[in-house]
């Protein structure tokens, strides 16, 4: 298992936890975003009704997904959109490459698309000599830093402004030492405007695709998706097959929930409905499976496909806030990512369902009512059964199995466990406790019941 330089979530969280001040800042900032979400949600009297409706619509879609995909394709084609299908990441990447080659270009602009992160499109295209510029500010920052986004809505939330200032100084020529967010954003605006004006192909993600009309909706605050798409000759929109909703009117439900859940805004600044290509331009949609149909077949995990990628579950998660997005070593971090990733690769992501306290806060904020913490718990069972339980957990589980079979082992294991807790609390609380770095460990009793009983029997 486990995967960034051989490190699993617990080990990677340790790396993040080295900088105490940063962990504190990260934790507080995301909690602040969570509070903004609460305020926005509480401002809508029918919030719970909206969540239920959204959840029911998504459940319905998953139960008729094949029909809706065909309906979407039919309508989209009537609208003049060219529709492609990709069974996996590899096929997705080669479709995009093919479109770039057909357009005769070796560079493009791209707005936020977690799907292309999941497919490692940028790395693939780089190897083929294609330059991709990420245009969402946060994504551009992590791209310059040669890192992956650490959060699906706030890609560079792990970075301090001084680091961003230094990156911009190096790559964009801003004055050394300037770390003013306003100034740096303006520098990025100028830098990226030139890219928008010169690139002939633009790739965007998709937030919602409407079966009834064959249109799709892209939501941004910055306007980067639109700057790219409306200036390019070719617009490629990549979407997972689970992004379909039945009717246009359902956007009323989802757009009311999305931004409020994500950042506490009443709606994203730009909500663009792409129905037909611009005159003289090409519009492509790539429908990607990449394991989604497999997840759909897993009864216990299928409703993770209802996710609208608002990241509310990230912001509220005590583990995410204190371990950072990179510790999840997958494109989509946080609680929902920990359910999606094992579906892609059980061995590689076996540690992630354990990166949770199962406190349930994620399920409480989720706008589409995914039972996130229950699914994390269920993944632990599945992974255990399939033999993918991570090493750090394996020890405890094996110990448990032996204890059941062997009374002597139980006594030794128990004694050793208590000895470690009493004498090296630091190790238990930080290095070996893989669930939650700052969780209080119970105080170890000096004597176990068994020892006490044996002693008292002798003495008595």
């Amino acid at each position: 298992m486990a995967v960034v330089n051989g490190k699993d979530h617990a080990a990677l969280a340790d790396v993040f936890n080295k900088d105490k001040a940063r962990v504190g800042w990260h934790d507080e900032t995301l909690w602040f975003v969570r509070q903004k979400r609460d305020k926005a949600a509480h401002g809508i009297a029918e919030w719970e009704q909206l969540r239920q409706t959204a959840s029911d619509i998504k459940d319905h879609v998953l139960s008729r997904l094949s029909q809706y995909l065909v309906e979407f394709e039919t309508r989209a084609k009537e609208n003049g959109i060219i529709v492609h299908w990709a069974a996996d990441a590899e096929e997705h990447n080669s479709i995009v490459l093919g479109l770039l080659q057909k357009a005769g270009v070796n560079r493009m602009v791209k707005s936020k698309s977690m799907l292309t992160e999941e497919c490692h499109l940028n790395e693939f295209l780089a190897k083929k000599g294609i330059e991709v510029i990420d245009t969402d500010l946060g994504e551009r920052i992590v791209q310059l830093a040669e890192e992956a986004p650490s959060h699906i809505v706030l890609p560079c939330i792990h970075k301090k402004k001084e680091e961003i200032g230094a990156l911009f100084h190096k790559h964009l020529g801003t004055p050394a030492g300037n770390a003013d967010p306003q100034f740096l954003t303006e520098a990025a605006r100028q830098h990226l405007r030139e890219k928008f004006l010169t690139r002939r192909v633009a790739l965007t993600g998709v937030n919602f695709a409407i079966a009834e009309t064959g249109e799709f909706v892209v939501c941004t605050n910055e306007g980067n998706a639109d700057m790219g798409a409306h200036l390019a000759d070719v617009h490629i929109a990549c979407m997972g097959i689970e992004k379909i909703i039945p009717k246009r009117e359902h956007l009323g439900v989802f757009l009311r929930l999305l931004a409020r859940s994500a950042t506490g805004q009443p709606v994203t600044t730009y909500n663009s409905h792409f129905k037909k290509p611009r005159k003289g331009a090409e519009l492509h949609v790539v429908l990607v499976d990449n394991g989604r149909s497999r997840q759909l077949a897993r009864k216990d995990f299928r409703n993770s496909l209802k996710c609208i990628r608002c990241a509310a579950c990230f912001n509220t998660c005590p583990v995410y806030r204190r371990s950072g997005g990179h510790s999840y070593h997958t494109a989509i971090a946080g609680p929902i990512g920990s359910i999606l990733a094992p579906n892609l690769d059980m061995r590689q992501y076996a540690d992630l369902p354990f990166a949770s306290t199962l406190c349930g806060s994620c399920s409480n904020v989720c706008p589409v009512k995914i039972d996130i913490h229950d699914q994390l718990y269920k993944w632990r069972q599945v992974l255990g059964k399939e033999g993918y339980v991570p090493k750090s957990k394996e020890l405890g589980m094996k110990g448990l199995a032996m204890a059941v079979n062997n009374a002597t082992m139980f006594s030794v294991g128990g004694k050793l466990g208590r000895w470690v807790m009493r004498n090296t609390p630091f190790v238990v609380n930080n290095g070996m406790n893989p669930w939650f770095k700052q969780r209080e460990m119970p105080e170890a009793p000096k004597e176990s019941f068994r020892e006490w009983y044996a002693k008292n029997r002798k003495e008595g």
């Binding site: 439900v253 409905h273 499976d289 497999r294 299928r302």
Partner: protein, 190 residues
């Protein structure tokens, strides 16, 4: 078998028994749409002005944006921005674009336009400043009302805009003017 057919077959086999499609049963409620629209749009960095009619609105915008050099007013300058004639890149130096919307939403400060009102889709993004004329009668309370008004409308491109372009990607500090327009002024017409 093509990937399309393969995906559809696997999905069809994986999907559970059909569940019902719920009705969106959110009841419309009465509210002061002008007051709410104004409060919300102001809260997200936009501005709300009032004018008796279009002529007065344009007059006020002219006075308010004196230093602007390239101003595009639609539909007055429709020819200039004509889709078939013009390369959208030529709009790169527009300082102020004035468009008209026939629908706006009180709960989130958003205005709705389609490419009919924009002529060029990139216009409200590439312009440095955006002004939108909205008749007061075009205000609705919620997004449900908005989609009810949009109905089955056929368009090539439709767009809700709520405020100026913004980002908080650097340490969560809010900055207006990320890639799209730096300001958004809505003039409500009586």
């Amino acid at each position: 078998m093509s990937s399309r057919d393969k995906i559809l077959a696997v999905v069809a086999a994986a999907q559970p028994d059909a569940l019902p499609l719920p009705q969106v049963g959110i009841q419309p409620e009465k509210r002061d749409v002008v007051a709410q629209f104004t409060a919300v749009l102001t809260g997200i960095g936009g501005r709300v002005w009032h004018a008796a009619d279009r002529a007065e609105a344009l007059q006020r915008l002219q006075e308010g944006y004196t230093e602007r050099e390239q101003v595009i007013v639609l539909p007055d300058h429709q020819d200039v921005v004509d889709t078939s004639m013009l390369d959208p890149h030529l709009l790169r130096d527009v300082d102020l674009a004035i468009i008209t919307a026939s629908l706006a939403v009180a709960e989130n400060g958003a205005i709705w336009v389609t490419d009919e009102a924009l002529v060029q889709r990139v216009l409200p993004f590439i312009t440095q400043n955006l002004a939108v004329l909205v008749p007061k009668a075009a205000l609705v309370a919620t997004m449900h009302d908005a989609y009810a008004a949009i109905g089955k409308m056929d368009y090539g491109f439709g767009l809700f805009i709520a405020g100026p372009s913004k980002t908080a990607d650097i340490e969560q500090s809010l900055v207006l003017g990320a890639h799209g327009s730096r300001s958004m002024t809505v003039v409500l017409l009586d």
